[in-house]
């Protein structure tokens, strides 16, 4: 029977507002969590897939030891596809010419991800997506010139002879380095044995390529990792690239910003639940007097909350899932082969958030309602505005719990929570103080203004709470608005319009004039020539370095870089570098080196240490004179080691340069290739496009969060004004009865909300400016510049928003005739 009554009451109560506010607040929480986690997961998955294309596989295991068939069998049993790859340097002979090349031998099936495009001898000018067959050898374009061969010519590699079958047009896992290396050659793995190149002690890199479902890959990785020896390791997938780190920052920011919106929405839910409970106190007392038990009341009102939660959960999840699908569709447009996957994680995370919000913010007032004693039926309703300490505690616990859930970091969540608590305390203190100070000020004011001030002061506690939530709502909207603009600008600054998108590598000193002429002729703006000399770091402070890391003797010998470094000499420090310690070379600096910070830490190098390099068989020593930080996210040539000019100037160097070429003039690259066949052109257009696409995706997500926060802010304001509706009704009835006229009451009301809005707007502005200062200095490392717009926008937004919302909700109350109002009040 109670279910029938519960349903009837629920249905009638829907018209009264609070249940909708709770439902909408929970809906906002669900939809923001589901869509945000879903969309960031989608973008992350897209990034991983793109990275898989760049690695030709979903997962790569590197080894310096020959292939173990057991690993391949295990992977196949796990349902993965497997390909193998060997890489080594070897000499190629064509008649009298010879050239050192990097040979990559791949098994059938390669590449597992991405596309291998080759231009076969039979079909010149046509790049086709093909797989390699045994007996074929494909060359990188510049090798033809170096070896003076043509398609179809014979080549010797080790003990075998091959015919050059074609040109490598696109190799998915080619090293993405602007420095290039030896020219590249592709062959089939089955042909390697016959060349007899692989001998004991040969330096050969073996790679196992795996592809399959995320779940199978993860299980396989977990199973295999404990079996790996020191010579085998998983290859890191593109996570440290510019895009990866930008996305990681974005994801954390999105979730945290989203969380603040959720907290706001939860506050709205709490306020609405409180009002709902207050408005029903007398009804509960009556029902209890009529003989209902506490359990029945709990069922009655618990079912209301349950229905609201279920409704919000279902609608919110659906809306969130639609947003995810839209985003996946968007990603699919710019990422070929994107395979969107359905994930339960956003849905359960959204549901969990909804339940936490409902239980810890809204359930407590409902519970308290059931404890209303029957005797209250004979008493006046209790005064509003009492602070329920347990509810405050539960709400705070919920906020912290959500922070922890989303950030996944205990310390970060505790810090953030403490910061919020301090802000809240400061706001309450200031608000209370201001409202108290307002009393003497009010003395000389017009009567409407006096009434407005008196109203604000009388509800001092309720108003402090309102002020906090109003301020918080406006603060978040302002912060996100300005931060969004700044974040996007910051990201775009990394890739400004017209940033070089074509890098030229391997330019010889003799070719510089031709290149300059070519650039002048075609109106291309060349950048700085960076000289490059390749060398190996051999010792630090005369201590010989071990070139490959191995577990056994790590403690005895210092570990080196493990590969040849690109060394350069520059008179001026590159713009995207920052000097951390020491000083940059002077004009008379002798035998000095500037070291990049991360590698300095890894090699345990400090100022004054002596580094020795082996360059083309000659030894060169340099003293560390400075440590620099480098912005690796910038698409610029970056160097670990920059030496003083005196050391390198005499070595034969090649040069790097770069220019911007718009899409319409791509054909110029062919002319350039004919003019300077040994120069490699590396186009970073795809990377730039990828970064821009992700930036625009993230901006859309940011706008979406801004929208959610604005909705939550409005919701809080609505809930807050609704909460004072009854009390205002009583006051209005009394004032009307005492003869107050409409214009007077209207002015008093407008002024009260305008004052509240102005205070909230001002607090929000100060908070937002402070936060922006911290973000600018700590995150973007930019000098502080005040946001002048903020200082008028914040208070104006506060006045406008709060006054409009207050007026919108209360105008009907003012229009009710006095007698009717009095009757409503008397009838409760």
């Amino acid at each position: 029977m109670w279910a029938k009554i519960a349903w009837r009451l629920f249905w009638r109560e829907l018209g009264r507002g609070e249940l909708w506010v709770i439902a909408f607040a929970l809906f906002l929480a669900v939809v923001s969590v589901v869509s945000l986690t879903g969309i960031t997961e989608g973008v992350k998955a897209a990034l991983m897939q793109r990275s898989a294309q760049f690695n030709a596989a979903d997962k790569v295991l590197r080894s310096s030891q020959p292939f173990v068939s057991d690993i391949i069998t295990q992977a196949q049993q796990q349902g993965l596809t497997v390909a193998q790859q060997m890489q080594f340097d070897s000499m190629l002979f064509a008649g009298d010419n010879m050239q050192l090349a990097t040979i990559k031998a791949v098994s059938s099936g390669y590449p597992l991800r991405g596309q291998l495009q080759l231009e076969a001898a039979e079909r010149p000018g046509v790049a086709a997506e093909v797989q390699l067959s045994p007996g074929q050898l494909y060359f990188e374009a510049r090798l033809f010139d170096l070896l003076k061969v043509q398609l179809g010519d014979e080549i010797e590699l080790g003990m075998s002879r091959f015919t050059v079958a074609g040109v490598i047009v696109n190799e998915p896992d080619a090293p993405l380095s602007v420095f290039g290396g030896s020219p590249r050659v592709l062959m089939h793995l089955d042909d390697v044995a016959a060349t007899q190149i692989v001998q004991p002690g040969s330096r050969i890199g073996y790679r196992y390529l795996f592809a399959g479902t995320a779940e199978n890959l993860q299980q396989f990785e977990q199973a295999l990792t404990p079996q790996l020896n020191v010579h085998q390791r998983w290859q890191k997938m593109d996570r440290e690239s510019a895009i990866g780190s930008a996305l990681e920052r974005a994801e954390r920011f999105l979730l945290l910003a989203g969380l603040l919106g959720i907290v706001l929405a939860a506050c709205a839910a709490a306020v609405a639940a409180n009002r709902y409970s207050q408005r029903h106190t007398q009804a509960v007392a009556v029902i209890k007097a009529l003989g209902s038990s506490e359990r029945q009341i709990r069922l009655l009102y618990g079912s209301h909350l349950l229905l609201v939660v279920l409704f919000s959960l279902v609608i919110g999840s659906l809306a969130g899932q639609i947003a995810i699908n839209l985003a996946q569709w968007g990603i699919g447009i710019y990422l070929a082969d994107y395979r969107p996957a359905f994930s339960w994680r956003p849905l359960w995370l959204g549901s969990l958030t909804c339940i936490i919000c409902a239980l810890l913010f809204a359930a407590r007032p409902m519970w308290r309602l059931s404890q209303t004693p029957a005797i209250d039926v004979l008493k006046q309703p209790a005064a509003q505005g009492r602070v329920d300490k347990l509810q405050l505690f539960l709400g705070a616990a919920a906020i912290w719990g959500l922070m922890w859930l989303f950030s996944g970091e205990l310390v970060l969540s505790l810090g953030l929570f403490a910061l919020c608590a301090v802000f809240a305390a400061l706001l309450v203190g200031t608000a209370t103080l201001l409202l108290k100070v307002a009393k003497p000020v009010a003395a000389g004011q017009s009567s409407a203004r006096r009434l407005a001030l008196a109203n604000l002061r009388r509800r001092i506690w309720a108003n402090s709470f309102q002020l906090i939530t109003f301020s918080l709502a406006i603060f978040l909207a302002l912060l996100l608005y300005f931060l969004r603009a700044e974040l996007i600008e910051q990201w775009q600054r990394q890739i400004p319009d017209g940033a070089p998108n074509q890098f030229l590598v391997n330019i010889s000193a003799a070719q510089r004039d031709s290149l300059d002429n070519f650039a002048r002729e075609h109106q291309l703006t060349l950048g700085q020539y960076y000289p490059v000399v390749r060398g190996r770091l051999t010792s630090i402070n005369d201590e010989q370095l071990q070139q490959e890391a191995s577990k056994e003797d790590r403690s005895e010998q210092r570990v080196g870089v493990g590969r040849e470094l690109n060394l350069t000499w520059l008179a001026d420090m590159p713009a995207n570098n920052q000097l951390l310690s020491g000083s940059w070379f002077g004009s008379d600096s002798q035998a000095q080196v500037s070291v990049e910070q991360e590698i300095a830490e890894r090699l345990q190098v400090k100022l004054g240490d002596k580094l020795a390099f082996s360059i083309g068989g000659q030894m060169v020593s340099a003293t560390v004179s400075s440590i620099r930080s480098v912005d690796w996210n910038s698409l610029q040539p970056n160097f670990y080691m920059i030496l003083s000019a005196d050391l390198l100037a005499d070595f034969p160097a090649t040069y790097i340069n770069a220019f911007y070429l718009d899409a319409e003039r791509q054909l110029l690259l062919n002319q350039l290739a004919r003019l300077l066949p040994t120069v490699s052109v590396i186009s970073v257009d795809n990377i730039i496009k990828q970064v821009n696409d992700i930036i625009s995706q993230v901006s859309v997500a940011l706008s979406f969060i801004l929208l959610i926060i604005c909705c939550a802010a409005v919701l809080v304001l609505v809930a807050q004004v609704q909460a004072t509706l009854e009390q205002r009704e009583q006051e209005l009835a009394i004032l009307r009865t005492l003869g107050a006229r409409y214009p007077f009451l209207r002015n008093a009301l407008l002024m009260e909300f305008a004052l509240l809005g102005a205070m909230a707007g001002l607090f929000a502005t100060v908070l937002a400016e402070l936060m922006l200062l911290i973000v600018q200095q700590r995150v973007f490392e930019l000098p502080f510049s005040p946001h002048y717009t903020l200082w008028w926008l914040g208070p104006a937004l506060g006045v406008l928003l709060v006054t409009l919302l207050g007026w919108w909700q209360l105008r009907r109350l003012l229009q009710i005739p006095g007698a009717q109002l009095m009757r409503r009040v008397l009838q409760g």
């Binding site: 109670w2 009451l9 009529l290 038990s293 506490e294 039926v377 004979l378």
Partner: protein, 235 residues
């Protein structure tokens, strides 16, 4: 089973409440006996403690000291839920400010106690009672759409729907004008007589009190008299 002669019995009832500086005694040493079907008025000025006494007799609240027996049940020893069960089965209320649930219609308000007690013909009973109080045509009106007198008639109908053995009325006509108040009082006594209910009525109105068989006069938390003549100076 024969119903006991005594319906409500209070022995040495006292009620005090905590205030900022100690405690305040609202009721002192009240004893009374009310028989089945009797109509009894408790008369007194505002703040004399009559509503507090009503809340103790109806089991809405517990005494600080003393005993209350309703139909032989020791209310002072029972829990909130046990007292609620007794109220559901055998107590009806009429309040000064009507206390209808604003989101339920007149009929739904009337049937609420019956539905809470699981009575199956609640709707028929409710319609019948609304007819008896002259509001059959307003069954689907919400309280806000009814006048004060009409609201109180709905409240009276609600009070009788479970056919309670005892009815507690707290200033039932105080919020109404004299003519409407008179009609409400007539209705209350009429239904009470028809159903043979025990009526305990709290009022400051002597004329209304005079319509009851017996009167208790209260002042400062104690009975001063049960003599009707002495009541003429009250109110």
């Amino acid at each position: 089973m024969k119903t006991p002669e005594v319906h409500i019995k209070a022995v040495n009832l006292a009620k005090s409440v905590k205030v900022a500086d100690g405690s305040l005694t609202i009721l002192h040493d009240i004893s009374l006996t009310i028989n089945h079907g009797e109509t009894v008025a408790i008369v007194g000025a505002s703040g004399s403690g009559k509503s507090t006494l009503l809340s103790l007799l109806a089991g809405l609240d517990l005494p600080t000291k003393g005993e209350v027996l309703l139909a032989g049940q020791p209310l002072h020893q029972l829990s909130e839920d046990q007292r609620a069960a007794i109220r559901a089965s055998s107590v009806g209320f009429v309040f000064q400010s009507f206390l209808l649930l604003p989101s339920l219609t007149a009929l739904e308000n009337v049937t609420l106690p019956a539905e809470l007690s699981g009575i199956s013909d609640a709707r028929e009973r409710g319609l019948n009672l609304l007819r008896q109080v002259g509001l059959a045509e307003r069954a689907d009106f919400y309280p806000a759409q009814l006048s004060g007198g009409e609201q109180q008639r709905v409240a009276i109908a609600r009070a009788f729907i479970t056919r309670p053995a005892v009815l507690f009325a707290d200033e039932p006509s105080a919020n109404l004008d004299a003519a409407t108040g008179q009609k409400i009082e007539d209705l209350l006594f009429k239904l009470n007589a028809e159903q043979g209910t025990t009526l305990v009525l709290v009022t400051h109105n002597n004329e209304l009190a005079a319509r009851c068989q017996r009167q208790y006069k209260m002042q400062a938390g104690s009975f001063t008299s049960t003599d009707l003549k002495e009541l003429s100076d009250v109110g």
